[in-house]
Symmetry: C2
Subunit: 203 residues, 2 copies
Amino acid sequence: MTENDKQTEEKIFEAATDVFIEKGMDGARMQDIADHAGINKALLHYYYRTKDRLFNAVFEKIAGQMFKKFAPVFDENISLEEKIRFFFKEHITFLQKNPRLPGFLLNEINHNPARIKKLIQQIDVNKLWMTLEAQHKDELKKYNITRETMPQLMSSIAAISVFPFAARGILEVLFEKMNINFNDYMEERKEYAADFVIKAIKK
Amino acid sequence: MTENDKQTEEKIFEAATDVFIEKGMDGARMQDIADHAGINKALLHYYYRTKDRLFNAVFEKIAGQMFKKFAPVFDENISLEEKIRFFFKEHITFLQKNPRLPGFLLNEINHNPARIKKLIQQIDVNKLWMTLEAQHKDELKKYNITRETMPQLMSSIAAISVFPFAARGILEVLFEKMNINFNDYMEERKEYAADFVIKAIKK
DNA sequence: ATGTAGTTTAACCAAACGGTCAAAATTAAA
DNA sequence: TTTAATTTTGACCGTTTGGTTAAACTACAT
């Protein structure tokens, strides 16, 4: 039954996603994934031949989700300032729903850089810059944004949004004594980050 | 011979550091560490009883190094602005020499938050804030820095410094097409980051 | 009812793993 | 030089690991 196929395959995929995100590629156990999916271990190998293939399937979907979240910003027909606000709001909201994604992705990329190479190589940063330049030529001049400073700015924006989730384990301990809740801090960050970056790039 | 002891124990520790940083706790193999140290596997267990103990020794030293690098900033008798410049210069320089530390630490903390709890709990953030307030009362008012915005600011500074190293695998691929070298980018970042943050906090 | 193709399972396997042990080698003390 | 203590080793052990296999089960077409 094809429906049942999909159900089982999806059940496996979802279980694998959970376990891989929590334990990482090396820490995850096929038996653990099978238990989470409520099936026999051999069935994992029936649908996905090896642990490596199963992991790749999970990894590529998650990485895709992550990078797609960066894209819609460029399509919106709004000012650069609004785009920055839009990005932090949308991206942090997405990460609030998937708080373990950053840590998972960063770790796996460090342990196997080749794996993500194919995915990222598709992104044409030059074309992306030209799109941005066409849309916001005047604004880019108004701010201190050039082709040269673009990587610094972009990586800083990503850092401010992503890092707190990757370092959550540290921040939560530090916040404890200050009676700060991580979720409150993150909610507050959507606006703080936008204000911070916008002020930083103003001439 | 006590000297030889230290030599062997250190050799093991250094080999373990290398392997753990590269492969992580789960991915590291005791045999691999023994090979790197040029000794028998049983000797690992003679000096460090278990893999867990060996890892803890390595982890605590590395984590200690990392957090100590944040400290000296508070001791320097210089302006707040100079402290920010000082921090980025020193911290990024340190990470340039130990580029894999961020990824390693963040990953292990995510996989075992309890491990770092003891280390971080020693840091009294409130006391730290009071020290900063005593040293820079006027400057803090001049900028938009309050006890409430402090966590946002501090985590942003850490993010801008640490994130590029944790995400190096991604950035390097993106930079390839733009003919940007990661080391050049990182060298440039020492000043860019300081300028960026200082401008962001100015009223 | 029967055959057939796809699905699921329990039992099993070889390799790799962390860890142990008794003996050999080295060093220090007598 | 002999003795005792420490260090290093190869060989070994029980367990866990990813992966296989042959048989059982299911759904469906004939």
